[in-house]
Symmetry: C2
């Protein structure tokens, strides 16, 4: 984060509380008006700062939105280590399902997806941010499970995450139907069974 970097000689120090206020304002503006109609001016007004405070941190709207949204997406999915693969999955599905149902996320995500369909730069940055984090989470929880002897060596971490994230995204962000704890439990059990049966020699 820019605010925690040591400022080079002669550069202004960026105050962390102002950065946080701007990030917060961007998320709220995105949810309210969408990417297309979001303006730096409205962001600055909502954050209670001048436009220069925004431009000191990001050079344009696209860069600002992508950096902030990617950061939130990454931070909202933890790396669980509960001692068993199935409970790691249960914890992950619980947190991801809460995040996808969050009022702000459920406005921002479809809007950015629509922008991504039109703008390859947005598509590429979102894809990179999501894939990188998805790969890291998958490798960690599958690696732990293989080490514990719960899953066969050679289990594909990306398929593991796709099988878990895909149904949650489909149900919550596409169909927009609520899901309950039973569903999350059943999903975690299904994914575990799918991976246990997976041949290590793929």
């Amino acid at each position: 984060m820019a605010a925690t970097k040591r400022a080079p000689a002669g550069a202004a120090v960026l105050r962390g509380d102002i950065t946080a206020a701007i990030r917060n304002a961007v998320m709220h503006e995105l949810a309210e008006v969408g990417y297309g109609r979001l303006s730096i001016e409205a962001v600055a007004r909502r954050a209670g700062v001048g436009k220069t405070a925004v431009y000191r941190r990001w050079s344009n709207k696209l860069e600002m939105v992508l950096e902030i949204v990617s950061g939130v997406a990454e931070r909202s999915v933890p790396m669980p280590d509960t001692g068993s693969f199935e409970s790691d999955l249960q914890l992950l599905t619980f947190i991801v399902s809460k995040a996808l149902q969050h009022r702000i996320a459920s406005q921002i995500i479809p809007d950015l997806m629509a922008e991504a369909a039109r703008n390859p730069k947005i598509a590429e940055t979102l894809n990179k941010a999501l894939s990188k984090h998805q790969r890291a989470v998958g490798e960690t929880i599958v690696g732990q499970a293989v080490a514990r002897g719960e899953l066969p060596a050679g289990t594909d971490p990306e398929m593991a995450v796709d099988l878990m994230l895909g149904p949650l995204y489909w149900r919550l962000a596409v169909l927009r139907t609520p899901i309950d704890d039973d569903y999350l439990e059943k999903l975690s059990a299904s994914v575990t069974a799918a991976l246990r049966a997976g041949s290590p020699a793929q």
Copy 2:
């Protein structure tokens, strides 16, 4: 379809070729300019008909788009009956993955999802069209598999479809990364294993 209905006495007969031309024009306009900027005028012009030809079939833009897109979504997913559950899944995943990668679909879907996030009427109609068809496909292929003794009685058809559709949607419509036949085969095998392990006493 309106064109195949018997016209009531005194009503004009709706020509099927004109209805088809309008449907086609709507899909192309949606892909090009998106729902927000789509106009009945541009649709009529592209279809080579007058605006009244459109209004004779649908009373407004929202109704027209929802009826046409729901119809395409339903028709693009078949009811396979190949003789084994895993090959039914392979055929389904193949067709769904082609549909999601189609140039027009990959423009229209994110755009309608963004509209759905803002307009509950759109969200509800899309949800109904997708859920109804998803349920029918799931019940058919799981029912066939239970009858063949491939899956335990009581297997949840909706979970079966979520596990198959979710990862495809996530990878193709959200991450926008290509997938190959290996992935489809692995996915079908994973979903089959997940459901075989499912306890019938849920």
